[in-house]
Subunit: 192 residues, 2 copies
DNA sequence: GCGTCGACTGACTAAACAGTCACTTAAATT
DNA sequence: AATTTAAGTGACTGTTTAGTCAGTCGACGC
């Protein structure tokens, strides 16, 4: 039956995502998640021992999905500039394709829940990207700044542009142009 | 006694800030806030009819403080570039001087609580800054982009640099240099 | 056709919660 | 001196919450 029936664990995570984004962690009791998902509360705690672990599982799953989706498009063959451009575009496109997921990640990352995750667990995920950035700096293609600062700059520019694009209604074409233009600006900022 | 005894309303907001930043909205009951502040729970609800209103009051107070502290340093006489630079520096310095306040604002802004505030209330607060940015664009000192996009870019770069500076231990001098350098980069990005 | 095992259930409970209310206190007003 | 008013109290309550538990159910080997 695995192929036909919805995996209940997944269904719970999916429902939790929607409710957390809409109502916040505070105002979404586990009972509501289970009810909305059409699953017994006992089942929720069968899969996730506590509400905190449900929230953290959801974060790790979504963070993993985003990272994977972005990294898949980063083949080694491209030039350094192309790698950074691809990272920028893919991050932005993922965030626009998955607004709920992105919103949840932002909410989680800016809450005290973030501290409940091991720092290594985070740095492990961004390590491959940092390697690319480090390379770009060593090749002297890019200004000589701390690689973590570079990472913070690009991430937060992606966040800002997402904010702007989400707050307005643009056509696909307009969106594409804004992404291109803002990357051009970003590159101007960091190129040596 | 007003000058000697701590204003209880203020004391409650102050205590709430610390607990919200440390534990999140979820895990900070009103009873804990009152107890920690050494004030009866009834008094909390005397000043703030609901927990939500306490949270929103705190947000509005802090957002106002930040805005005021930044705007005070924006005299009209300066050149356009100086105005943007001052805005950048002041934002960053306020965030570094007030880490708890900044953390709370980030947590609030990325949570569903934000939607409980009128959009006008927010746009009213950033209006003066946007006027400056609009002027800079009209003067052709800066690339011709939507002023809201410019605002998003500068805000999020401030956020990113704050993240980087907070995550590391720098001397005042190093901090100052990083602020200068990143503004220089930012200006390179947006100058025409 | 018996036993076990993992997925799943939902009524239940103990604790915690936001918010109430009858009351006190102290200062200002009349 | 009497009265009103506003600030402040904390025990209390009805509700909600996260989490439990005794047990159902079908599958699958034996």
């Amino acid at each position: 039956m695995q192929s036909e029936s919805m995996d209940k664990r997944e269904k719970l995570l999916q429902t939790a995502l929607e409710l957390f984004v809409k109502q916040g962690f505070n105002d979404t009791p586990t009972s509501k998640i289970a009810k909305e998902a059409g699953i017994a509360t006992g089942t929720l705690f069968y899969f996730f021992p506590t509400k905190d672990e449900l929230i953290i599982s959801l974060y790790l799953k979504l963070k993993g999905q985003a990272t994977e989706s972005i990294n898949v498009a980063l083949p080694e063959v491209k030039s350094t500039k192309e790698v950074i451009k691809t990272y920028y575009e893919q991050s932005l496109k993922w965030s626009l394709r998955n607004p709920n997921e992105f919103s949840f990640l932002a909410q989680f990352s800016n809450s005290p829940y973030l501290k409940k995750i091991g720092a290594d667990e985070i740095s492990a995920q961004i390590a491959p990207v940092l390697r690319h950035f480090r390379l770009a700096i060593e090749e002297q293609q890019v200004v000589d700044i701390d690689v973590n600062l570079l990472y913070a700059l690009i991430s937060n520019q992606v966040f800002g542009v997402n904010q702007f694009l989400s707050a307005n209604k643009f056509t696909k074409k307009e969106q594409h142009n804004i992404i291109q233009d803002t990357f051009f600006m970003f590159w101007k900022m960091i190129e040596r």
